[in-house]
């Protein structure tokens, strides 16, 4: 029965109180451990289509009569358009329409970062559109950009207010501490680099609008577009069947969609607006740079007394201040914590959610600081983390937490230290480091699914969610198959179209599986109940003795009837099961946990760093598909390695123009950079969370990687690397500083 509740909704650490209509989650969880299908490795159901090049992405869509839009983007980090003329562009060959800042809200005449959209042209071909953009006449009033986040914070140039948090009495705790460590950590700007660039194709059909878009949130795009245009939401249909990566950058509609909508309206033709790689790397957001000044204070026995953090997030022109202070507030049992976070507003492209936004950056600082504290205390790094194990966060109990078990399993990897160090040879020094992980990932309502059973004995799961490459479609098919007692190949899935299925969750915040999975299971159970009612009547059985297993209706006294025979009675009738995601447990924190142990080799002569092995142990509740889950973990770690060692969006410090908007200069990891990765997932269902006990896994694996690698580098070389990425130059400088410190300790004059 539907019920109206007031509940706290969380996406990527953003909380809001909302009214929600929820349906009770009446199903009991399955027992822990692998079932017939759930908990066992399954090949990706969309795998063959993707591998064979049959999957149709937004970028493959060619509608009849479709025009192509190209966008004029600001070449300046900060400027005003004094005068703009579209006349020459409109007269160019093939051009059908053009729009400027006065025509579309998403276009601006006062760009605050390079790449902001100013005007756009629609033409018969993309080459004609691009040529016409060159003919847009603009008189720029170029202004001096503000690029230094610390300067912005000092000037009070913030996006919103500084956010402050305090518990306990930090000053008193600092005064009582036996050991205090302070350090400044820096992280760089990182680009999502989704392989399918941001794009949409928009087509008006009367007063209705079709938006084909590469997105992580079909329903969010529908609401955003309908809201902006003043349309009833169901007049906007949003479609995304296959999607080429997002990593947090594709949660909204984007300027390209509003440009395509307006140009489609003006021309009466479908319009594609697709970003080039260079536009992608300027205009679609990033993981922002941070500066973190951190302090940890402890008793001599390792008990944490205080944690203090001042965080400056280089949030860009109109970005979001991600919770870089989150790990410091949540990860450890520490009574006295004080944080302040300044979201610095500067003339750079905006911060957009990127795989565990804020927590990746904040964990690098905090977990490196903990290792520096461990060294000063002469306490084992893993032991220090066990000693300060938190049993609640912000006075709320956890719905489940098995981090101690993660630590127990990490111990065998941590104990490889002596053996790894002993493999140091010549200039190559080897070491081991670890870091803990905390992040959200509980998902929540609303999310809905339907399951349709036809007389052919096949089931179809219908829900208008998107599979952004995380394997959600496979996990949902497994859940439905398990509940219906069907083999996986008898379950089809319809997704990716707001006109074809019910509301579904955003694919962000590690929320898709924990949000959608319980709804799919509830829908399958509803369909199963109806099948059993029919079977009970047909075979003159009591309904309660029947269940679905192995493609059959079976009774507790040994009777068995093929499902196809039962549903065959339906002929053209269909069974429709409906399911909704129930509420999250009230008064509890739903979080994911883990620990990673990294092994590195550092060439102390050249500064080259090789990550040789990463062991990842994570606690994300029940695992639906161990094969897909291991891929998620590997992908997170590999992105983490890029973040740690090679990726860095570089700006010209005077003009604020991006110097490396291409893949030859912005260095993504390649297959040659990949270490041995050992994945262990605890697979312990969260007994308080939904009918599945599953949390999300998309983000947790990237959270601790950078700190684990930096700590391993310190273990190998004694050098402090506190700034990402750790380039060879930085590594050599840190090694030199370490040598000088060592000499000073021994009383010799420091080398110059």
């Amino acid at each position: 029965m539907a019920r109206l509740i007031r509940t706290e909704k969380e996406v990527e650490g953003r909380f809001e109180e909302v009214w929600l209509v929820v349906e009770e989650d009446a199903l009991e969880q399955w027992p822990a451990g692998p079932r017939e299908i759930v908990g066992r490795p399954a090949q990706r159901v969309t795998g063959p289509m993707r591998a064979r090049g049959e999957a149709r992405y937004t970028s493959d869509l060619r509608l009849p009569g479709m025009l192509h839009a190209a966008v004029l983007r600001s070449p300046h980090a900060r400027a005003r358009v004094r005068k703009i003329s579209l006349e020459r562009a409109l007269a160019a060959p093939g051009v059908r329409s053009a729009v400027g800042p006065e025509d579309v809200d998403a276009l601006t005449d006062e760009p605050g970062h390079e790449g902001q959209a100013v005007a756009a042209v629609a033409a018969d071909t993309i080459e004609q559109a691009r040529a016409a953009v060159e003919l847009i006449d603009v008189e720029w009033d170029v202004q001096k950009p503000l690029l230094d986040p610390e300067e912005a914070a000092d000037q009070g140039q913030l996006i919103g207010e500084a956010s402050r948090y305090e518990r306990g009495d930090v000053d008193r705790a600092l005064a009582q501490a036996d050991v205090v460590v302070e350090a400044e950590y820096r992280t760089q700007t990182v680009l999502h680099s989704s392989f399918e660039t941001h794009q949409s194709v928009c087509e008006w059909r009367g007063d209705s609008l079709d938006v084909y878009i590469s997105t992580q949130f079909i329903w969010g795009v529908r609401d955003e577009v309908a809201g902006k245009l003043g349309l009833p939401p169901d007049k906007v249909r949003v479609v995304c069947e296959f999607m080429g990566g997002g990593f947090g950058s594709k949660n909204g509609a984007g300027d390209y969609t509003f440009v395509a909508i307006e140009l489609a309206k003006r021309t009466g033709r479908p319009v594609r607006c697709a970003l080039t790689r260079r536009e992608e790397n300027l205009a679609t957001g990033n993981r922002n740079a941070t500066i973190q000044r951190l302090t940890a204070a402890a008793k001599a026995d390792g008990t944490l007394l205080a944690l203090v953090g001042e965080f400056v997030n280089a949030t860009g022109w109109d970005g979001w201040a991600a919770p870089t202070d989150g790990p410091m507030r949540l990860l450890y049992d520490c009574e006295n914590v004080r944080t302040v976070l300044y979201p610095a507003k500067i003339n750079t492209p905006p911060m957009k959610a990127f795989r565990a936004p804020g927590f990746v950056e904040g964990t690098f600082g905090l977990e490196c600081l903990l290792d520096e504290l461990a060294a000063k205390l002469d306490v084992d790094s893993l032991e220090l983390r066990r000693l300060n194990y938190a049993s609640s966060s912000d006075d709320k109990p956890y719905s489940s937490k098995n981090l101690m078990e993660c630590y127990r399993r990490a111990d065998q990897h941590w104990q490889r230290r002596d053996q790894v160090r002993a493999r140091s040879e010549g200039p190559w020094k080897r070491g081991v480091g670890l870091a803990s992980q905390i992040w959200y990932g509980g998902g929540g309502p609303p999310s809905y699914a339907w399951v349709r059973l036809g007389s052919d004995g096949r089931a179809t799961v219908i829900t208008a969610m998107q599979d952004i490459g995380t394997g959600t479609a496979t996990a949902m098919s497994q859940i439905a198959a398990e509940e219906l007692g069907l083999p996986l190949d008898k379950v089809d899935l319809v997704l990716g179209d707001s006109a074809r299925g019910p509301y579904a969750s955003i694919s962000a915040g590690s929320s898709t599986t924990p949000s959608m999975g319980p709804a799919v299971r509830a829908a399958a159970a509803d369909a199963a109940r109806q099948v059993l009612e029919i079977a009970a009547q047909r075979y003159d059985q009591e309904g309660r003795v029947l269940s679905l297993r192995g493609g059959n209706v079976v009774s507790s006294d040994g009777g068995s009837w093929p499902l196809e025979e039962v549903v065959g009675l339906l002929e053209d009738a269909q069974i429709l099961g409906k399911g909704a995601r129930g509420p999250n447990p009230t008064g509890m924190q739903v979080l994911t946990f883990g620990v990673q142990v990294a092994e590195v080799a550092v060439d102390v002569e050249t500064g080259e760093i090789r990550v040789e092995r990463v062991a990842a142990i994570h606690d994300v509740g029940r695992v639906i598909n161990p094969l897909g889950a291991s891929s998620q973990v590997e992908g997170g770690i590999i992105q983490g390695i890029g973040h740690t060692l090679s990726e860095d969006r570089l700006l010209d410090p005077t003009s604020g123009v991006t110097l490396n908007p291409t893949f030859d200069t912005y260095k993504l990891p390649t297959i040659a950079d990949v270490p041995e990765i050992v994945t262990e997932l605890l697979d312990i269902p969260d007994e308080h969370l939904t009918n599945l006990g599953s949390k999300g896994l998309g983000e947790p694996p990237i959270v601790p990687t950078a700190a684990a690698i930096a700590n391993a580098i310190r273990d190998a070389t004694g050098a402090d690397v506190r700034s990402l990425p750790i380039t060879r130059e930085d590594m050599l400088r840190a090694l030199r500083e370490a040598r000088e410190r060592e000499k000073e300790k021994r009383g010799a004059p420091a080398a110059v």
Binding site: Y57, S194, F195, T197, G244, G245, T662, I671, V674
Partner: protein, 145 residues
């Protein structure tokens, strides 16, 4: 007008001079299995075989490959590598995957049992942002079943 053999079939491609092979395949012939992710020869998503050799079709002009033999993912759908990629979960979003399989097919053609180093060397020109690399290596190591 360039005449090409594409996946064993003869095609005349009537496109303006300056058109890339990738655009000709996708827009003129409807062979959209070839993906374009960077359009400037940096990532490998658009890889096709030209007379058996992997090339970046996004920086190859179609008029320069007149009378040559082009193989795209559509021509490799029955290659055992496709099953190997699916079986080992060597794809996530799948956008780079056709290019990965095309590159891998050229590798195993000349070297059916490549070592880890050989795989990493041959495949380093095919980027994957989802980070499927360990599974790609597994797929190529075990493609013969």
């Amino acid at each position: 007008m360039p005449e090409l053999t594409i996946n064993g079939e003869a095609h005349e491609v009537d496109v303006p001079v300056g058109t890339t092979l990738a655009d000709a395949l996708r827009d003129e012939l409807g062979l959209t299995g070839t993906k374009i992710a960077c359009a400037e020869g940096h990532c490998g998503a658009c890889t096709v075989l030209l007379d058996g050799v992997p090339v970046y079709s996004c920086i190859t002009l179609v008029h320069m490959v007149d009378e040559r033999e082009v193989t795209t993912i559509e021509g490799l759908r029955e290659h055992p590598l496709v099953d190997a990629f699916v079986r080992t979960d060597a794809l996530q979003c799948g956008f780079c995957t056709p290019g990965q399989i095309v590159s891998a097919s050229a590798l195993v053609e000349g070297n059916p049992s490549p070592s880890s180093d050989e795989i990493r060397h041959a495949m380093a020109g095919n980027l994957c942002r989802c980070g499927t690399y360990p599974k790609i290596e597994e797929a190529i190591s075990t493609w013969q079943g």
